[in-house]
């Protein structure tokens, strides 16, 4: 019971943190997994949203909504810009895309810091969400709790949009077979651009909502980028549920994990990622080990048979 009590908050926080990471990575999931664009400027768009939240937000609900609208709009615009920028190199593979989007991220990051300044920003949160609530005798930040709700809503909405709606069907169909989508009379390029615009809006919106937790600063873009990349790749490119599970796993690794194995804490994130990739990679090391184990087992059986 004591053990449970001691680990309740980290475990809950792992879910909350995972939800936050899911929201943060959602835009990249869409852009990379469904739009096929390895967007290394994703973190920069998040940072832009976060700065907008710090600039516009004043602790009132109205301004929070306004910031959300502005952040999403700015993100959508950057998604459109990205679609235009990527079009000429679309056929040249991921490395060239990485070079391009990394260049955009560097330029964008410099512009953000020049405009908003390098100082950490205070992000005002509506009074009702500012403090903490008591759960089973423990304090927990209200905003994060509310965030779990928003993230669950967003996950549901994203799932519905991508998996259930016709527009989402068009996006997934384009990932599956763009030629056949074109043969249906839909321009894959329009679908692609729309995907990136929505992905940008998601990233910008996530920045606004996440700002009180991941405060905007010059390093925000890099941090968010790296986390998102891990979540998208571990969660299988483009899968909403996969990204959700990966995000919660990363969240738990960084909360429950650091409590349970404090000595390994610095290695946990990337170690866990490496193991996850090995386990789920079809061409990975495990099938081969399984095959070799079978060979050994067969030989052992043959030996036993010979000995008997």
């Amino acid at each position: 019971m004591d053990w449970l009590d001691a680990h309740l908050i980290p475990a809950l926080d792992g879910v909350a943190y995972g939800m936050l990471l899911f929201v943060v990575a959602a835009g990249l999931t869409l852009a990379f997994g469904s739009g096929g664009v390895l967007n290394l400027a994703h973190g920069t768009v998040y940072a832009m949203g976060a700065y907008i939240a710090a600039d516009i937000g004043d602790g009132s609900w109205g301004m929070l909504v306004l910031a959300l609208a502005v952040g999403a709009a700015a993100g959508a615009t950057s998604g459109g810009v990205l679609a235009v920028a990527v079009a000429p190199v679309a056929r040249r593979g991921h490395l060239d895309q990485a070079l391009l989007t990394f260049g955009i991220a560097l330029v964008g990051g410099d512009m953000l810091v020049s405009y908003f300044g390098a100082d950490q920003r205070q992000v005002a949160v509506p009074k009702a969400l500012e403090d903490s609530v008591t759960i089973a005798g423990h304090q927990y930040p209200t905003y994060r709790l509310a965030f779990i709700g928003v993230a669950a809503l967003l996950a549901g909405l994203g799932y519905w949009l991508l998996v259930r709606s016709t527009a989402g069907a068009a996006v997934r169909a384009t990932t599956d077979d763009p030629e056949m989508v074109a043969a249906l009379g839909l321009s894959p390029r329009v679908v692609h651009t729309a995907t990136l615009v929505v992905a940008g809006a998601l990233a910008g919106g996530a920045g606004v909502l996440g700002a009180p937790i991941i405060t905007p600063s010059p390093e925000t873009a890099d941090t968010v980028m790296l986390w998102s990349l891990i979540i998208v790749v571990v969660g299988r490119l483009g899968s909403v549920l996969g990204a959700l599970f990966a995000a919660i796993a990363v969240g738990e690794v960084q909360t429950l994990g650091v409590v349970l194995a404090p000595d390994l804490a610095p290695y946990l994130l990337f170690g866990a990622m490496g193991i996850a990739l090995l386990v789920r990679s079809g061409s990975g090391i495990l099938p081969e080990f399984a095959a070799r184990a079978r060979v050994l087992a067969t030989r052992a059986r043959a030996l036993k048979g010979g000995g008997a």
Binding site: A173, D176, E179, M180, A182, A183, G185
Partner: protein, 286 residues
Amino acid sequence: MTDEEHMAEVVPLARPRAERAAAADGGAPSAPMLDIRSLTAGYGGGAVLHGIDLTLPRGGVLAVVGPNGAGKTTLLHAVAGLVTPSGGSIRIAGTDVTGKPPHIVARVGTAIVPQGRRVFASLTVEQHLRLAERAGTKRRAWTPAARAAARARVAGPVWTRADVVRLLPRLGERHSHRGGELSGGEQQMLALARALLLSPALLLLDEPTEGLAPAIAHEIHGLLRTLAAQGLTVLIATPQAALVDGIADDAVYLTSGRAATATGPGTDAGFASALTGARDRADRHA
């Protein structure tokens, strides 16, 4: 055939062959539905088709017959815009679609049932149908090219989701299954339904019974016959003329993408059994 009677009964669109020409209206009335002139096309710089000429009148059903590798798929892909021709021209109901991207060609009134079905593995049957219906009926023209395509559109018989489910009841049964989970025959039906929901005037079919169990192939065959009878203009690629027996009223033989020889109707009557014929030729070799 009870199958066929069943179809004729449930599909209200069926019309006698004589009405075909009248059924396919729109576009320039005098122009043939498909007019291909000295078409050259291929992949990655290499030509697969070398100067194909081909005309398909409205309401006609033309079989493109030839062995694997002859260029049948390339021909159909070129018409659908999936391959950019390196020479020649393609007109659909008088509209020049040479080198137009596939979504524009589709908007002019074409639909393709590709080889290997190519259904979307991650979409359910229902989503396939919804997406195709939306694409067929609620398409919006954002670009000048799309607007031009909309103006040039040749109207075909209008299909709704209810129509195709009535025609292919099995799709209704499996509406929540993903494309990747369907059997080959079901995928073929889905690909056909997906094409029909675009309400095309010209339907391109690429080896529609390939790799299917005989009973399913039989069923597909019956469906195609029904569609042909309704006056849809169809271009159908097949390795053996016998497979389009009772569907096509004309056939073209394609070998090595070079010679396209038009033949009169009824050629399939003389088509020998595949294996026997092969053995005969092998005996002559020996």
